[in-house]
Every structure is written in structure tokens, then in C-alpha cells.
Symmetry: C2
Subunit: 593 residues, 2 copies
Amino acid sequence: MRSHYCGQLNETLVDQTVTLCGWVHRRRDHGGVIFLDMRDRDGIAQVVVDPDTAEAFATADRARSEYVLRIQGRVRLRPEGTQNPNMPTGMVEVLAKEVDVLNTAATPPFQLDEHGKVGEEVRLKHRYIDLRRPEMIEKLRLRSRITHSVRAFLEGQGFLDIETPILTRATPEGARDYLVPSRTHAGSFFALPQSPQLFKQLLMVSGLDRYYQIARCFRDEDLRADRQPEFTQIDIEASFVDEDDIMAITESMVRQLFRDVLAVDLPEFPRMPYAEAMNRFGSDKPDLRIPLELTDVDDLMQRVDFKVFSGPANADDGRVAALKVPGGAKLSRKEIDEYTRFVGIYGAKGLAWIKVNERARGLEGLQSPIVKFMEEVVEELLDRLGAEDGDIIFFGADKARIVNEAIGALRVRLGEDLDLYTRRWAPLWVVDFPMFEDDGSARMQALHHPFTAPSCDVEALKANPIAALSRAYDMVLNGTELGGGSIRIHEPVMQRAVLEVLGIDEHEAREKFGFLLDALQYGAPPHGGLAFGLDRLVMLMTGARTIREVIAFPKTQSAACLMTDAPGEVSGEQLRELNIRLRQKAKAEGAGD
Amino acid sequence: MRSHYCGQLNETLVDQTVTLCGWVHRRRDHGGVIFLDMRDRDGIAQVVVDPDTAEAFATADRARSEYVLRIQGRVRLRPEGTQNPNMPTGMVEVLAKEVDVLNTAATPPFQLDEHGKVGEEVRLKHRYIDLRRPEMIEKLRLRSRITHSVRAFLEGQGFLDIETPILTRATPEGARDYLVPSRTHAGSFFALPQSPQLFKQLLMVSGLDRYYQIARCFRDEDLRADRQPEFTQIDIEASFVDEDDIMAITESMVRQLFRDVLAVDLPEFPRMPYAEAMNRFGSDKPDLRIPLELTDVDDLMQRVDFKVFSGPANADDGRVAALKVPGGAKLSRKEIDEYTRFVGIYGAKGLAWIKVNERARGLEGLQSPIVKFMEEVVEELLDRLGAEDGDIIFFGADKARIVNEAIGALRVRLGEDLDLYTRRWAPLWVVDFPMFEDDGSARMQALHHPFTAPSCDVEALKANPIAALSRAYDMVLNGTELGGGSIRIHEPVMQRAVLEVLGIDEHEAREKFGFLLDALQYGAPPHGGLAFGLDRLVMLMTGARTIREVIAFPKTQSAACLMTDAPGEVSGEQLRELNIRLRQKAKAEGAGD
């Protein structure tokens, strides 16, 4: 039906006859001639329709925005002065001989060029129009190239693409499951998987050796923070490996991916223990593009009389950390107030600061609401931080968890606001995570999941669980966790010990994942893996602002699809077949029983 | 952790030290020496552990079936007379230096070699053991190679891999949907997609131009006939194409796939109109490996006095068809009785037959319970069929639908029973399907789906819908429908006309797929596509007997997973959150409210 995509036209085709199919992106009438910007997946080409070709001209004259046309014509150089070097096809145009209307179009709910003028709701409702925008097509194209590159790499490494069930049993990941009532087993429900974790471990028990899947996963959570109820995971597992093997394979994979798709050579991935990441960056996914670090000043602040600082500095679970921002002394009072509000989101009760205006003048050269409370340690403090004129120093003093979250977030915010980035891409591995965290509840919590292997033996684990480190690893890029994984427990005795620490008794364990515990008894190999969040990876690589931009048909924050109007009502007959009824009847007819 | 897979060992490695990891497949003690058959994903290698290496021997002596071992040793040629040329590694063995137990194994619920002795239930419950069987691993490996080949082909043709939602709105495919209650929209439900049909059409409206997805689909149907509640589809759609384009692309894809994976060059795919397929083979997915055909004999039977034949022969919706089976005269009375029972499944009230013992002897040479009723046409009949001595001729006489189903099925059954296959692979395209079928209900039914384009214009369609043909095409291989598709309707006026014929009024149409009708108004390109059933394709290519053999974690006929025990009960709290309650409480505690 066509000879070329619109975006393929260039000078090498001059004088050739081409056939294009696409949409009228823009139409202009100029000097008695019709100019059509024809758009398809690959780009935009300018078509000129002259009144000399009467039939074509009459057809083109009917064409409106977003009409679907087929155009045959001759490629020619654009006249001197009308060339557009910023456009891939900008040196040439097509002089139309034939114009056919393949389909008409009603006036679209918004013009593609003016999508910014309508709210996201309108665009999501008419997603099929919104996806016509070249930048949206480009994002989906890049997403496809990304999965293709990942698959090619993994296939080359002997990983088998194996599908695991979507209709399955509630998984032990902890978030809320989506449930599917069973018609054939009245009163029973399938759950949609939060990840294929247990299945991929079982595949290792089966000897499949190397598994991968680009797997759809589901979480029925409140959709704060740009999440989607269904998301996609690059899921990987291998047998007879240790953490170095998995990290080496997946690091190569990501490096290859960036070369393939973005022509970017990523730097080496440093490895950073969890404790160091928390200490230096207040985060287990530090953004290393930002050259700011938290500095511990507990020892200094233990000596001051200022309770707000000396209290946390002396407390077991407290921390006082300083964040030096070069050039930050120019921040206005209003800006500092905004940052104070910002750290409040993370629970900080305030944000102390010192502006270093002129260090040579001693205390006189400092500006700060708090420096008077710590005069005796100020010099030592400034020395430790290497403070220079023009810097500002922020402080967090609270429970360590709050300080890390608040000052860690402030660090990232300042990096963005002040554009402190030193490089485009900053990957790293975070390792040596604690096995458990004590969140104050009755049970200890697994920092990853209950199948993560500890790096100590059973005795050490039982003796001091809170000190135990795990064999888990997270890949972090630019402050985003791209993926996480671990070496798994393959010995039943260790699995039982970990469940015991987590306060999961035999009955609960059997109920939730008895089949995995069974499987471990029949000869499970040492194994481990990793899962990448594909949506977030694509978002980072395409520079998208929300995850909704890299998903063809996303849902809103309230987990609805505005285009299809899902979820929707169902008939009473359907509910009866599923052995369920609604607690409150829905408003419209048809639903309920 | 290892240097080679077990299956990689061969003579080129003699005298090299290798490290293997895997499972104890068999253990034999012979002449004071331990022989271990070590198994991994790639194959089985023989390991010899000599008492001279005392530590290794002691460890090997502890090893039982399915223990996980790591073995280091030297490759050597097996002694003369103990070589096994039927095994890829059968010329060599490994003389162990070190043996480590990576994990022990309880006695498995069944021995891999003896899987046939336990029922499928036991194997499905312990699927992780069952998947250890080399033939199961091989099937999953082939499945992975199949999807990889398909993806590589489609990517090379410019198709973009685009994910469509799993949590979506009820689709108009007609089968029962799986439903997912929404927590955030009380009383509303998502449906799991029966296919991505509407989404892929919308992607074409968006100008994505070429889409593919290996997509999970769901149908909550009663699982007769070897089906699964979730299945996988190779889903393809393209714009600015006609049926020849889609058939050419997908035929190339399948041809490439068979070359890549099976090293098979498929023959050309003939195209056969639906009417011809029904007439000659009684089926719209004829198995062309079998050289038997139905022959119309209505004109002859109209003349006989035998009402059982002359009735259908004279009826508008009747048919009398003959099936000649060369060499079939040797079938016993018992076998013929079995075939009579068999056609009864399809509604046939009997199975008339004529054995041609000795044509030269005229009526004398025939053996048949019915020939006496049609003496006047017998010669003409035998001539038309080219009957020869030793043949049997079966007859179907009933409504055409019953004759086609019954004699069509008998033809396939005879092909199998008598091993009449003339070749290994027999592909074809079936085309020119009717748009609609009149199944006797109030509404006309779409033979494919309501978005399939007819090959006539709107006026012709409205004037005589039952005569209208569609632009649909099915790819058939060895009597199995591998995939089906069509050119879709891209013009709103045609879509309205088809919905009108189907008796779907404006309100119902808007309710079910209003967003598609909207989209067609905003400039839909001509487009079409095809969907392959991946599970069935893999089954054909691997020679599996059931679809469950080519799915890692399949469900039973009652849509349950015996391994995870899904579906399962859920807590009252979960149900309350979803705004639903059970109609009857489930038996165990915890469920209901």
C-alpha cells in the first residue's frame, strides 16, 4: 500500500516516485497550493498539492486534520530558503500526483500540538489520540527496543523464557493481592501474582538452570508515588551461582542495553554496603550524580548543651548529621523555609542551618539560628566538613531513621534545585543489607523477602538475627532502584530458621507456601536472581516524567482506565455464577443480585 | 561454580579437568566403584568414583537419588565395551577427584524414570519434580526457542512489542470473563482479557503501525478438550495492509520458525475457501496429511427410494456425503461398530457403509446393509468415487452440519487409526469465511468477531448478510487451527452496519466497546492482523500429547493448580475490602464474613 514511511524521505530519493500512507498532521494553504504535513510512525513529510493535478487537489482540499491519506508523488528538493534542517525530512518534499482519502476524521478532542492545554484526564480518555504524538510513539518504540535488547542478551546467556501463571495463589510479598473469584471452586479465589518469585525458585528446583521472563505483576495498593496496579518486571533466576555471578550477568545486561538503545557507555558499578549508603547519603538508593554527602557529627554534638542536638547524638537510635552545600549560602530565607517544610514531610521537626559567609571572621562570619548553642564545637565542625565561604550547612537531628529519610531527601532535592549533577548516569550496587528490620511491631520483618539467604550460618542467625546481613543486592541508577535480588535459601533447615525469626509458624508457613518448603526438601540447587522494574527502567532511559508515559494504556491514581471505563459493573448473573454478592449494591441497574 | 554442563561432555574434553553441578539421576555400585549418572539441564554424564579417592568416595557413598552434587574430575574415554553411542556423552566418563554435596534430597514422590506409574495428579502436585524429566525440560526449552524465533522475525519486520492491560474491561469475545473486584471502585470489576483485540486496533488508530505481543489471555470456560483458563497468544496487527500482506508476513514467520527450531522446510501454504474445505473435508481446519475426501452424492441419492438418504439429499439444509477409504474393506464388524458409535458423538444417527470386495462381480461383489436400497445408482456411485476392490465407503446423510462434523471427524480418526498420513506437515490457509452464521437463535452470530471486515460493501452486506463473506483467514496445520485473523473494519459506517446485522443496538454497542466506536471516528487506518495460539503451536512442534506438557505450571480440567492449591480461601477482611461477600460460606474457617 506504500513504498516508504514518511520519516524515511531524504535527498537520496529525489526524483523517485513514492507512495506514503499516514495522517494529516497539519495543512496549510499558501499561494494557491495545499501543503500537507503527512505523519506516520516514523516521522513527518511535507507534501505539496498543486492545482495542476486537479483531482488530487480536489481531494486534498477536502482533507482535514487527522484524515488518513494515501499519497503518490515525486520527491523533490524543497526550494532554497524553505528547507528545514531541523527536520529529518526537511530538505525534501513530495509533489503529489494522486491523493486518496483512506478514512475521514472528526475533529479530535485536542490537537496533538496542543496536548499541553488539556488535562491528563482528557488525554487518557482519548488515549488513542494521545499516543499519536511523536514523542509518545518514540517512548513505546524505545520500550520495545529495550525489551528486545534485554531478551537478546539473556537468550545469548542461555536463559530460557518461561511463562509462570497469572491466575495463582496469594503470594507472600506483603502487599495487597488482586483476587479473582473461581467459578468452579465456589468460595475460592485466585490471586494475581505480585511477582513470580516462588515459581522461579521452583523452576530452579526443577533444574531449568537459567530462567527469565518479562512478567506482568500486580499490586492492589493505594497508588501514591506514580505507581500502577499492574507493572512489568524483568525477572531473572539462575542456579549454581553466587551473588557475584548474578551481579556480573545483570550488570553486563544493563551495560549492553544502554549501549544498544542509547549509545551510552555506563561507568563501572561501584558496590556500596547498605550501612555506608545510609550513612553517607541517608538512602539505600543514593543518587551518586549529586556531590553532596551527609557527615556524622554525633561525637561533636554529644558535647553541646543544645538538647535538640545532644539528645539524638547521645541516643542509641539517634543521629545528628550535617549536609554541606557548596554555594548554598545564597539561599533565601524563603527557600530555607520551603526546605524546612519539605523535610517535615519525612517527619523532621525542623531544619537547622549555618551559612558560612566569611570563615576568616570566626563566629562573626557565620549566620545561623543555632550556632550560639554550639560555639565550642563550631570550628571543629567546620573543619570536618571542609566548609568554605559561601557554603550552607544543614542539620538533621532525630531518630536515625528520620534523619536519614529527611536529610537524604533534602540532598536529592537540593541536587535538583541547584542543578548540582556532576554526570548523566550514576549506577551502583548496594549490598550487605540487614536480613531483618525491627519496625517496632511484634514480629521482625524481612527487609527483602523470607526466601533471601543470610550471609551467616544458622547458628549465628538465630543468636543475633538483627545483626545478620543478607545476600541481597540492589542495582541503583540515578537514585532509582532499578532492580533488586538475592541469593535464595536452598536448604530447608535455613529456611525454617529464617521463618522462625520472622515469627511465621509451621502452620502459617505451610498455608502460605508449603509447596516451596516441600520443594526445598527434594534437592534444591544453590540459586539466586534479580528482578528489574521495567516501567521505571524505561522511564529513566526515555526521560519520561511519569510512569504513565511509558505504558500504552495506563491507569489513573485511583486504578481506573478512563478510556475503557474499567473497572465496570457486571450482571447479577455473573456474580451468582461466581458465588459472590456485593455488600452494598452499586448504583446502576444490572449489578448486585 | 562449574566449568561445563553435564550434557556438554564429549571426546574433545578427554584428559581435561571439569567441574559439574547437578542431580544424581541414578547411582550404581559395581565392582567396589560408585557410578553416578549426573543430570543437569543439558544432559546426563557418567561419573566414576573410585575408593582410591577416599574423601570423594565417602561423600559419593552418602549420595542418594536427586541429591545435588558438585563434582570435579578428569574426563576419560569409557573402557571398550561400556561405551553408549546412544547417549551424547556416552563415549566418556568423569573420574571424580572431589565430590561435594550441595544439597540433600528426600526420597522423591516418584522416580523420574517411573513417572508413567503415577497418575497425572501426583505429577502435577509435585510439578517441580515432574519438570526434571529431560523430555519436559526439552519441551520448555523448545517453547523458549519458539518465542525467541517469533520475536526475532517480527522485530526484523518492524513490529513493536507493546504491552496491553491485563486488568481491563469485559471484552466482547463471547466467552465467560474472569472478573477481578475493584477495591477502590466498590461494586465494580475488572475483567481479564480474552484477547488484546480492541487494544491492538486502538494502537493502529494511534499510528503505531506494526504491533505484536506474546500476550496472556483468559477464558473462564469449562475446560473440555484440553484447554487452559489462561493461555498465550502471539498477537499481531498492522496498518495499511490487506489480507495478502498479513498472510505473507505470518506465513514467512511460521516458515522461518520451523526452519529455526525444527530444521523443517514447510511446503507452500495453499489457500482454500471455507466452502471448499467444508465440502471436501467436512471441516474448516482440514488435516491435509490424510488423503481422504468427502464426495457429494446428493444428486444420486435424490433418486433413490431410501428415505434416510433421499430425505437429506432433497432437503435445503441436508447433505449426503460419501467417504471412500482405500483398503478399508478389511475393517471388522466390531471396528465399524466403533466408528458408528464415534460418529454418534457428533449427532449422526448411524453410519452406512459399502465394502467393495470384488467390483467385477457387480452387486454380488459388494457387502453392505444398504446397497439393496440404491441398486439403481450403485454403479454411478462407484464410478464417481473411483472405488476399487478392497475399499470401504462410508456415508453420512443428515443436516449438512451434522454430516460435515461427523464424517469430517471420521475422516481424521481413520487417518490416525489406519496411519494414512502422506506427509509430516500439511499447512494451509482457509479463507472466504461467511461473515455470519444463523445458529437458529434470534440474532445472527459473527463467525469471527464483530470487528471483522466483510469483503462486500455496506449495501450488499445489508441486502443479504448471510451471503456475505469476510476478509478473515485461518492458518491451519495438520488439522489444527494455528491462528486466525482478519482485516478489520476501519470505517464507522461499516462498523454500524455489521453491528446492526448482529442485532447489537447503539446502547449495547456503546456499553461494550464505545471507546472503539469513538476511535474509529478520529481517523482509523485500514488495518488487520492475526493471533496464533502459542500453546497449541508449541504442542504441535514438540509432539506433546496434551497442552499441559508445554506449560510450566498448568491447571487441571477443573481450573485448579494442584501444586499451589490455587484457587484458595481468603479472609473475611479481604472480602470486606473488596465490597463482596460469599453467597454460600466456604467450608473452612477464615472465609466468608
